[in-house]
């Protein structure tokens, strides 16, 4: 029960991060499912995707209200990503569990680095891409 509550808390936190930063919230879902509910890395990733769909929809709807959504290009971008998705899912199912987990951990480090770099870049280039 405590583990289920922890997963609910991570879900709420990840949603807030996703809404605030626009990126990255979903990366917390799979680790939470692995660490708190004992799922394998592969099953946690697959299950995380189910949670990402409504979260992204809610975020997109909120952003739409602030006039920040180019719906046609967004949907087109997603639809054109199906081939990449097929490849990614096929690879994830072939890779051994431990290798998938280590690769995922490395991906987390890349995401962290990317977020920090975005925050710490010089003011001049920040202005173009100011978030807040």
């Amino acid at each position: 029960m405590a583990n289920e509550l922890a997963v609910v808390a991570v879900g709420l936190l990840a949603g807030v991060v996703a809404g605030m930063l626009g990126v990255g919230g979903g990366v917390l879902f799979a680790p939470a499912l692995v660490l708190f509910l004992g799922q394998s890395q592969l099953h946690a990733e697959a299950t995380a995707l189910v949670a990402i769909v409504p979260t992204a929809l809610a975020g997109a709807w909120s952003q739409h209200r602030y006039g920040n959504l180019q719906l046609r290009e967004g949907v087109l971008l997603g639809a054109l990503g199906v081939g990449g998705g097929l490849a990614g899912v096929a690879i994830a199912n072939e890779v051994p569990e431990h290798a998938l987990r280590v690769t995922f951990a490395f991906f987390l480090l890349v995401v962290a680095f990317q977020l920090v770099r975005r925050e710490l870049r010089p003011e001049e280039s920040r202005r173009r891409g100011e978030l807040a």
């Binding site: 289920e4 997963v7 879900g11 709420l12 990840a14 949603g15 991060v17 996703a18 809404g19 605030m20 930063l21 990126v23 990255g24 919230g25 990366v27 799979a30 692995v34 660490l35 890395q41 592969l42 099953h43 697959a46 995380a48 189910v50 949670a51 990402i52 769909v53 992204a56 975020g59 997109a60 909120s62 952003q63 602030y66 920040n68 959504l69 180019q70 719906l71 967004g74 949907v75 971008l77 997603g78 054109l80 990503g81 081939g83 097929l86 990614g88 899912v89 690879i91 994830a92 280590v102 951990a105 991906f107 480090l109 890349v110 995401v111 920090v116 925050e119 891409g129 100011e130 807040a132």
Partner: protein, 117 residues
Amino acid sequence: MRRTLQLAAVGTAAGGFSGLFGVGGGIVIVPLLVLWLGYEQREATGTSLAAIAVIAAVTAGLHALYGNVDFAKGVLIGVPAVFGAVIGTWLQQIVPVRWVTLIFAALLVAVAVGLVV
């Protein structure tokens, strides 16, 4: 045409990350929309969320065909996340996000270590 090809390239990269790592792919989409397709940051963020919804629906469906999805657990973590996303989007308009970004980055490093050791 050129723009459609650019969108296809960004979508393919995001789809690959999504299927492989169980993420939306926003970390790939947002910077590419800004640097390559001339989006303003907030617009890139909003638009990427729509793309992510489509991509994640596709990759979740593909993973389900392999029998990898536990739907109940997805709901358990996804429903609170929906409320969080609405709160977070609202906070984004009124709170500077720098400290959130840095704390979140530190958390990701800790989680990465926790997964491997």
